[in-house]
Assembly symmetry: D2
Homo-oligomer: 277 residues x 4
């Protein structure tokens, strides 16, 4: 093998390494994360502070840290109802390893499951930055919010679209949402996005009797904490991971392995269905 | 950034590239797999021949090719009963993409599901190479097989161990196994491993009325085709993948999205269970 | 625990099983796929016929079967250059199991990798059904294709968009594409979609000197074989899986485990980069 | 479809639900985790307390909570050096979604990567419960530990085995380990397992100059906190997840998409390698 001239040049050129990162610098006996030696962070900062530092690149204020802690705690678990948890436990029952099962569970965070947080944050951030459907410019004062929320709700309902972050298939009143909104005020994290969430809730409840869910509240809060909507599913995963692990562990240790989740009689062979209609 | 001296030396040293492979060589406008330009293989060799070529490094004989085709066809599908298929469909229902769902399904190929083929091939290959529990030397003639099988079955049953490749939780007589054994004779792939599978079946049926399943037959055949037991799950995946894709597509196009697979009443909260007993 | 009345009713109601499928019916000692007992398919139909049967619900003609075989063989491997193969080998080196590594590799089939086949099939199928940007109605005769292709290429180039299925980052002339187009004619699979692929190639080569790649050719062919573009990545996975397995096996058996793929000097710490700009 | 009699009976039988769990009970408008309504936990307990509660079924003491917080913070990141992070970024570059990339990264936690924590915890827990190789009975007093550690190190070195939790491929002195050991004393989490870790370190440093790493320290601490070694990789994942997310986000937002990580010249085609030797 001969290394090509161009490659050689590329390898030698400063500024053309294989990887670039601003997150953590590793040297022999030194690990520096976002500018801090890790041994100075361990035992000193909380886990939510580490989450904020890793993702946003700086340490949060005390209020921000407590707010974020409440958010990730609120994502903790929804029992065996989510397809992600069911999928992870199916894998555990089949004899897959812990990390494999957790990985599989995460793959079930699709458009309809866990995607609501992302869509809700995206909607809030776009509305605050650009207004609704061109009717209104950027939102700069709380006064605009009520009007914007009404227009938004009107448009979405007219188009028969679901409003992400509102309504829940198991709860009429998601008990986590009001608690989070209360904490948002306590920790002074009640900015435009969180206020928009509240305004939408008011408009939507008026028209359809639908309440805010955990995703809607957290979408407002996380946006006011400065998180990009593109990272939404990440924050959710951080909060949900411990329960996913716990469910896999429970399946592994409490249940008999490779149990039949369904009897043959529960599977219907629909032989007449046409394909590729 | 400065490239360290040692790294520089490593990079320049012939024989220390990032990757080494004997499978496919890629050059501009040329792709050579196991020595053959791909355009000479396309339209000329069958898919099973390509599988054999990629994994074993050479083209199979005509009989070997037909035998391998029967093996991968036999792994095609087991409806919605396997946890892998259920997991993949749960993900599809949650709105995940096709490749994500398939990937998730593959993660459910754990110790108890799909693992039987690997354990069966491992057992057959070890017995043929080393005999059973030191009682018997390497097996060299068909005459030894009956005796070896009896000893093996005796030992495993005495230790209350399952014999991988025999028995099936849905079938008393797996209809795929006898067909595969018949084809093994037709395609002259009835070597020591396949004969061992048959001898174990005879001994086991005698004592417990248990029959060979699709994994047991294929474990013998794939071993006689020269496949390492470490690749077993790979061959199974090749055979099962099309059905996994078809199931995900069916879930995506026929079912309503994010359907509830279980009602709350089907989930029992066992609050009294102690943890970490 | 008491089973709720509504659930009870649902469980009893015919037509409300947990799962419905038209793919495979499983009964004790009987496995029926798309209407055929599996023991009648094993040893009789080829693997590509099984792929077609599972996905499209019926057996293909002989020409269709041979065409599909060429397509999946053509997806076989591209050495260690794709991120999917690199990811799978990284996992193998870290000590993950075969199915885990393969699953991980499949997760790298993102928008930019393997996604081209899907986008290309979608584009071809939409153009044939609806014409281009409203300029032209549904394409019904080969005569329209040249004009449509020119309009399409013009529009996409004007919008600075890449045309999926054309151009390759390693090859000026992908050697697989002309071979596949030649076979499309041989196997009489040269319908409107494949002709559109050719017409786009002609228009694009004229303006930019860019050639069709393996995805472009297969996108036309698979569309003419009747495959929905939503299944595209599935067909690619079927073709690529054996090589993925072979690469993982090679990494496991030939390389030393947990090797360092990169030296510290190849990772640049870009501490000045601002986050969330 | 008719529901079989046996199934019907099973469905009606109290105590035979599809799922059982002791983790979280979900009812309309109520979500109870380990006995606590979630709205009472949000804003009140810390994230590490939630982790402990979910996995061990009860709330930790204040010291235990702070210790666990330090442990998960210490797993935060090791830059772009781990194969898990590299795999996740490869997928991000290929255009896969955030959850998909994170899931893929987790699949790289194989035997050699992240597995050290599990093996280390398993070793510590087995030694404390059963002694070493039958030489010594259960360890009940700190006095036995020095002797046990010497025997263990002697045995393992004689068998040319690596001692999981000691030595690091990038650090002679992992800066995280002494910090964690210091905190173990501060938070009174310096039980038999952590003392064993220290004793092994002393014996091993004496003979080979090898130091404890982050996994060795945390293996002792987590064992003293009451965590089963089977959950080890889970705790590691909880700590590492935020950085994985941050790396994927960085790759998505800072780097150009589908970049070439390797030039063709960095891939060596080793055509002479024999297969299945």
């Amino acid at each position: 093998m001969v290394i090509g001239r161009e490659t050689m040049d590329n390898l030698l050129k400063i500024g053309n390494p294989k990887w670039k990162t601003s997150i953590t610098k590793v040297e022999t006996n030194r690990i520096i994360t976002r500018g801090y030696p890790q041994e100075d962070l361990i035992g000193k900062i909380s886990f939510p502070e580490m989450v904020y530092l890793l993702i946003n690149g700086k340490l949060p204020s005390e209020n921000e840290s407590k707010m974020l802690e409440a958010v990730i705690v609120s994502f903790c678990d929804h029992g065996v109802t989510p397809p992600s948890t069911q999928a992870a436990r199916l894998m555990a029952s089949a004899g897959s390893q812990l990390n494999t099962c957790v990985s599989g569970g995460i793959l079930a965070f699709g458009k309809h499951h866990a995607g609501a947080l992302e869509r809700s944050m995206k909607m809030f951030q776009e509305v605050i930055q650009r207004g609704v459907m061109g009717y209104l410019g950027p939102i700069e004062s709380p006064e605009d919010l009520e009007e914007v929320a009404k227009v938004l709700v009107h448009e979405l309902l007219n188009n028969n679209e679901k409003i992400p972050g509102f309504g829940h298939r198991y709860h009429e009143k998601d008990p986590r949402a009001p608690k989070l909104m209360e904490l948002a005020q306590k920790y002074k994290c009640y900015g435009l996005h969180t206020q928009l969430a509240q305004a939408i809730q008011d408009a939507l409840f008026d028209r359809k009797g639908i309440n805010m869910n955990v995703d809607g509240a957290n979408a407002g809060i996380l946006s006011d904490l400065g998180f990009d909507w593109k990272i939404a599913t990440g924050i959710f995963m951080v909060g949900r991971l411990p329960a996913m692990i716990s469910h896999v562990y429970e399946e592994m240790t409490v249940e008999s392995s490779f149990r039949k989740f369904f009897e043959l009689e529960e599977i219907y062979y629909d032989g007449m269905k046409e394909i590729n209609p």
